[in-house]
Symmetry: C2
Subunit: 471 residues, 2 copies
């Protein structure tokens, strides 16, 4: 007869404890396969516990398949096949998550948003309103493909007013970051096409297409971006570009080139252009460049934008505008997907845009960035390295290029900076087909760094680089 | 000389208006390619506006490529190639978004969460705390792959306490819904494997694998789930199952079968089991079934769970637990991905779990669901159709099966219900390889429907079905 102690339950209920003891005996072979278990009544009496307790324990063991019952005969131990432990049993071996990079003192390598500029109070208030006053059904139950209608309406209006796009809310698909949208685009357009990317370009974009088993061509650019002839001879059907502000070169594609690319797209029904408008809001001079989408008459452009640069990257809200016939295809082919952004944040963002907070936030940020850039340019013009520095692309977006008059290689200078605890990236780091290992051109990502850290870091950087520069 | 009126600016700045007028003339051919524009000074004088205004307009046109400057000669109109409008120019043709289904009066076809049970106040309070007190950098800038550490730690602790899983936080990957995680799994394990799915099963799962160009086998089940021999002969490497509560049959896989499947997986290094534990929290009798992952010694199980059923589907937070060696592969291969869930909600959910709110919420919901089920079972036992109804799988999860004693076909009964404004689904709707068009078995999804609507709808349903039932 089974005998277990109930002395040390540590808060466990008696039936769970009994269930665990019997399971242990089965797993260890103390109770053999096909062995008959004592009747519930007998066991209850023997252990001095209630019948219902034994019944519950047996029921749980039976539900999980450790034991089985035969009518009028009672309970028996099941025959279990133990999986052989082919690997050494050390399941708690911690996987290596590449340690958020041993944090360098400061990085100019990645674009970021200054954390203290986020409109926390407004957001918290609007979110609270969303939680307390929105239609509960819409908030909790409606996982509509593409996003909730109020947000898509607010975006359509915003796009009309600020980007000159005339689109229906149904053409707008909300997603949790542009990475999510790129994945959807591959599923929408298919893996059998060749995709053309800008070289140099955004490395994560290439990585996403690669893990999607999509064949990519990396096309060189002239000073206006990708050329239609190069594109034509590449055999690509899908072109992914950043025409407002090419990353990382900063090229703004002129309208002539835009028409040439649209013409290329119009030549075959399978051709499309993905227009990645990732930081168009932050043209620091003049007005924003009208997107390709606004002059596309042949339904060939998929427009993508994000709130990562305007609000915060951790916010994970982006959207794309599909041409009407692709939107219909989207609903037919991918309509089973739920939107990947929480409704709480979708409704809140809709209100944030509708009530004018978003426009004001962007205007404030544009001024903030312009001032920050002006200070930085003044600093660069006056610093000891000034004569060896040439700024390019300072009028748009959140980074610019800094050409260095130097004979030293990019990797050598990168090492020099790293010794000072500074992470820097060169234009050459973004090439797929490297023309040269040395671009002598720094990417200046500085917008997210507070001045108190920025200027001491720059003093350090140029101090360290100075011996390598041609002054 | 160009002449434009500035009488009707409607709030536009003069330079923008001038820019638009000149652009219009270029696009319409009034200004010809290569034509020289008036000098800035001349134009300013002529139009009676300031020089700086003309300068700004010309600069914007030049940046966008409509005009170009030649040193000392002035500005010229660019040669533009207009894209032919291959499609009729009606860009505002609204795409058809399948109208959220013409809403039937009520649907028993889809699982849902009762919207009034969401802990709005607690959530709003915790969220406000997150926004005002969390580390700004972590909140705004850290888009760590896999999710923020506090949430992953809270989940690891929760999984240990409530599901018996002993995992490191780094093994946990947060994603915006299980759909997002399925996509990541395909990218992690690759498209060259055959994936095996349960038949009948969750149709959206098959759709996701299909749009990922993955080859799927749909395997039949016996009363314990998928059999190892069937699996072996299918040629599949990856098995995706719902062992705690098979959808839609409700089968709980017994432990013997679990060991057999683990044994199958251990036979080849490329084999893995995806364990979809989508509603394990709502076993309404006894304790939750321990997951496969907890008895896996060979690092073969990927465990997936979601907050869609426990909190809200619109919440879009799910997670998976990768075996250590797959977690390492994930960081190496997919580490470029940002987490797809907003940090605001990740930090808030971490607090919600840590402070015990989640456990209390689940317990409250389990009681709520148990009461709701008990009422429904009493209703079914007493209703006029009672003798023709047989309930199955009522002890676990958020739906059960209702066998109907009827000679009528499933589609006929579906029509009958639809005429009453009721949407119902049959077991036969979930088969890939249909054994028969008629399962005579309804899926009862009722948890999200308020009693005031539920019972009148059921009265209506069984009233309409009654003539077809064998009483």
């Amino acid at each position: 007869m089974l005998t277990y102690s109930f002395a040390n339950l540590q808060g466990e209920s008696i039936y769970i404890h009994l269930y665990k003891c019997i399971r242990q005996d089965i797993l260890e072979g103390t109770l053999k396969a096909q062995e008959k278990l004592p009747s519930k009544r007998m066991l209850a009496k023997n252990l001095g516990i209630s019948l219902i307790t034994v019944e519950n324990a047996y029921a749980q063991l039976a539900v999980e398949g450790y034991i089985y019952s035969e009518p009028r005969r009672g309970y028996f131990v099941s025959t279990l096949q133990q999986a052989p432990a082919t690997k050494q049993p050390q399941p708690l071996l911690t996987p290596k998550q590449p340690a958020q990079e041993v944090p360098p003192l400061l990085s100019f390598a990645k674009s970021s948003v200054p954390p203290d500029t986020f409109p926390y109070n407004t957001w918290a208030r609007l979110l609270r309103n969303t939680l307390t006053s929105a239609d509960e059904h819409a908030l909790i139950s409606d996982t509509a493909t593409g996003g909730v209608l109020p947000l898509r309406k607010a975006l359509a209006k915003h796009l009309y007013q600020f980007r000159g796009l005339n689109v229906a809310p149904e053409q707008i698909i909300i997603g949790s970051g542009t990475q999510t949208l790129y994945n959807l685009i591959v599923q929408l357009l298919g893996r059998s096409h060749i995709y053309a990317l800008e070289d140099p370009g955004y490395p994560q974009l290439a990585a996403i297409y690669r893990t999607n088993d999509v064949f990519c061509r990396y096309l060189p650019m002239d000073e206006q971006g990708i050329q239609a002839e190069v594109l034509e001879s590449s055999g690509a059907d899908i072109l992914h570009i950043t025409p407002s502000h090419q990353f990382p070169t900063g090229i703004t594609m002129p309208v002539k080139r835009r028409y040439e690319l649209l013409h290329w797209a119009s030549q075959k029904s399978s051709r499309y252009i993905i227009e990645d408008d990732y930081d168009c809001e932050f043209r620091l001079f003049g007005k924003p460049i009208p997107p390709l989408q606004s002059i596309d008459k042949a339904e060939k452009v998929i427009y993508i934008n994000t709130f990562s640069k305007t609000l915060a990257p951790t916010f994970r809200i982006s959207y794309m505008v599909l041409p009407p016939h692709l939107a219909s295809l989207f609903y037919a082919k991918l309509g089973f997907y739920s939107c990947t952004v929480s409704n709480f944040e979708q409704f809140t963002l809709a209100k944030f845009i509708e009530d004018g907070y978003f426009e004001r936030h962007i205007n404030r940020m544009r001024t903030y960035y312009r001032n920050k850039r002006d200070h930085l340019l003044q600093y660069l013009a006056a610093c000891p390295a000034a004569k060896a520095l040439q700024v390019e692309g300072e009028d748009s977006g959140l980074h610019f290029l800094l050409h260095l008059a130097t004979a030293a290689g990019d990797s050598q200078l990168r090492e020099v900076a790293l010794k000072e605890g500074l992470q820097i990236k060169f234009l050459s780091d973004y090439y797929h087909h490297k023309l040269s290992d040395n671009s002598h051109t720094l990417l200046m990502n500085y917008t997210g760094i507070e001045d108190e850290r920025l200027y001491p870091a720059l003093d350090k950087l140029f101090g360290a680089l100075l011996p390598y520069l041609k002054i």
